[in-house]
């Protein structure tokens, strides 16, 4: 099933496996720390704001006797924010939390899909084990030593943390070239690149701009491109994006 130690490869009926890059300990810790700070700040903010409103003066102190309203309005929501933050947001955001979004990762099941409600619950319940003995010690060791960087909660729930893929296809130069490029231009571009080091800077600019203009790039845009940008555009035109040094 796995293509590599850090890839989740899911078989597909098309014969082309779905490949998802598994997140490592560093990015997991990064996402967790962001989430930890967010939930702490939210819980404290709630506590402070609700306390000020409840007391009606600049004081955060709890009432001297147990008061149900203080408990229900001030303490319980603050605790709830801190304790069920992960579970609620992972449900609502389909395997994501703000911290995971910032770190560019999300939770998926073994088929690459959004985990079920039961899986997310199991994943979060097993935080009790992962957080032992202190500072997520068990979870951290499990993430470091396991091949797919899984903590105990992930093992129990059958989930993984994978990198988010690019949400948009932002390659304007490539798309721009696509309709106009033909094999002959690509061959000339490859030849020009082969002679690149032997040409003077003036000749490089002139030839590159002429060839790229034939591929449909606007003159003002070409004028704005420096030598390096022109060379990159030529490489793409030559179809050598992946292999060019």
């Amino acid at each position: 099933m796995s293509a590599a130690a850090t890839d989740l490869s899911v078989d597909s009926v098309t014969g082309i496996p779905v490949a998802l890059r598994v997140a490592g300990p560093g990015v997991r810790a990064y996402a967790f720390l962001i989430d930890w700070h967010i939930r702490l700040v939210l819980a404290l903010a709630w506590f402070a704001a609700a306390s000020l409103l409840y007391n009606g003066r600049l004081s955060l102190s709890p009432p001297s006797a147990s008061e149900p309203r203080w408990f229900a309005l001030v303490l319980a929501p603050a605790l709830a924010i801190f304790l069920v933050y992960h579970l609620v947001l992972e449900f609502a955001l389909r395997g994501r939390t703000p911290g995971k979004r910032v770190a560019g990762v999300r939770i998926v099941d073994r088929h690459g899909g959004v985990p079920s409600a039961g899986a997310l619950l199991a994943r979060n319940v097993f935080r009790l084990i992962d957080s032992l003995p202190l500072f997520y010690g068990v979870g951290l060791i499990a993430v470091i030593v396991s091949a797919e960087h899984l903590r105990v909660g992930d093992l129990a729930a059958g989930t993984l943390l994978v990198y988010e893929s690019a949400p948009t296809f932002a390659a304007p130069e490539l798309e721009h070239l696509a309709p106009q490029v033909d094999a002959q231009d690509a061959e000339i571009a490859a030849e020009l690149l082969g002679r690149w080091s032997g040409l003077g800077s003036e000749a490089r600019l002139r030839l590159a701009r002429t060839l790229l203009a034939r591929s449909g790039i606007d003159a003002p845009q070409l004028q704005a491109m420096d030598v390096d940008a022109l060379q990159r555009a030529l490489r793409r035109l030559a179809g050598a994006t992946a292999t060019a040094p």
Binding site: A171, A186, G239
Partner: protein
């Protein structure tokens, strides 16, 4: 034609299909959230999936390290997940859990429930016998305030509502019960031994406290206090223990599937029971906060609430509450 030129032409042709990928990805995202504009939208997803697979295979060989490939990988993964999982709705997931999955899980866990209950009951009997024979051993099982209160001839629960309001009491109790229940389940990770200790310890404590209050003629008062919430609360303790035991057995005796896979299957399956346990414990917490400490409720009323809630739990777990689905 040179190989470079041929690849460039293929790449250009491939990239010209970018608008098709965007449309396919947008459709997959929309359908993943359950928003189908029309029936043909859903039917087109299968075509999109094939298109993305085809183009991705070419992209992997032509532009393996490009942003375009990264985008296509993501779009393909999203289409795959949408096609195979469909949209996820909380209400339908909950309905499926209660109506179909829960009764199946309970059937599967029956032997574990039997053994967990037996261990709990035996531990309670052992605790009772120990304190009955050696009263001083109560110090091992109960806090000093509880012992002092009982020795004064008063249950520690009397006048509880004068000290703590029902709402706070309920929240404290249900939080504590849920945590204990989750720990009993998670402790199954220690090859079931953790669950065994938690069940045994809770059983010993219950039996010991009953023996101790019995020696001070308070057994009836304690029974009156716990009967309304205790029937379900203790049952849920055994259910959580059974779920933990299933996890423990999957790790200790994994079978042909391997330890990690057995653990995953057992944890996921038995975890479904835990959702219902948490919901039942919320009910117990409310009863324990509002009914149990309130002297206005008679024993008969408390019995009716306790037994009624317990029967509701049985009906919920066995699927009697819902109509049987066709073909089952």
């Amino acid at each position: 034609m040179s190989r470079g030129a041929r690849d460039a032409a293929l790449t250009a042709n491939l990239l010209s299909r970018a608008p098709l990928w965007r449309a396919a990805d947008a459709r997959a995202r929309r359908l993943a959230h359950g928003h189908a504009e029309e029936a043909s939208d859903a039917a087109r997803l299968a075509d999109d999936y094939r298109l993305l697979a085809h183009d991705l295979a070419r992209m992997r060989s032509l532009l393996p390290a490009s942003r375009a490939r990264e985008y296509l990988e993501g779009a393909y993964a999203r289409a795959h997940a949408t096609l195979h999982n469909g949209a996820w709705h909380l209400t339908s997931a909950l309905w499926r859990l209660l109506r179909l999955e829960l009764p199946d899980v309970v059937r599967w866990l029956r032997p574990y429930i039997f053994w967990a209950t037996l261990i709990f009951v035996l531990a309670a009997l052992a605790g009772y016998a120990l304190v009955q024979r050696y009263p001083e051993l109560i110090a091992l099982f109960a806090p000093p305030e509880l012992i002092a209160s009982v020795e004064r001839g008063q249950l520690w629960t009397q006048g509880l509502l004068n000290v703590v309001p029902s709402s706070i009491l309920s929240a404290e109790i249900l939080t504590n019960n849920i945590v204990v229940s989750l720990i009993a389940y998670c402790a199954g990770f220690l090859f079931g031994l953790g669950t065994l200790y938690i069940l045994g310890l809770n059983g010993l404590m219950l039996g010991a406290v009953f023996a101790f209050v019995g020696q001070h003629a308070l057994a009836r008062a304690l029974f009156t206090f716990i009967v309304a919430h205790g029937c379900v609360e203790l049952s849920v303790m055994c259910l959580s223990g059974a779920a933990g035991a299933a996890v423990g057995e999957a790790l200790a005796r994994p079978g042909a599937a391997g330890r990690a896979e057995s653990f995953r299957v057992a944890a996921l399956r038995s975890g479904q029971l835990l959702i219902v346990c948490v919901l039942l414990l919320i009910g117990c917490g409310l009863i324990e906060g509002y009914v149990s400490p309130d002297p206005r409720f008679t024993l008969a009323e408390r019995l009716a609430i306790g037994i009624g809630y317990w029967l509701f739990m049985l009906a919920l777990l066995s699927g009697w509450l819902w109509p049987t689905p066709r073909g089952r």
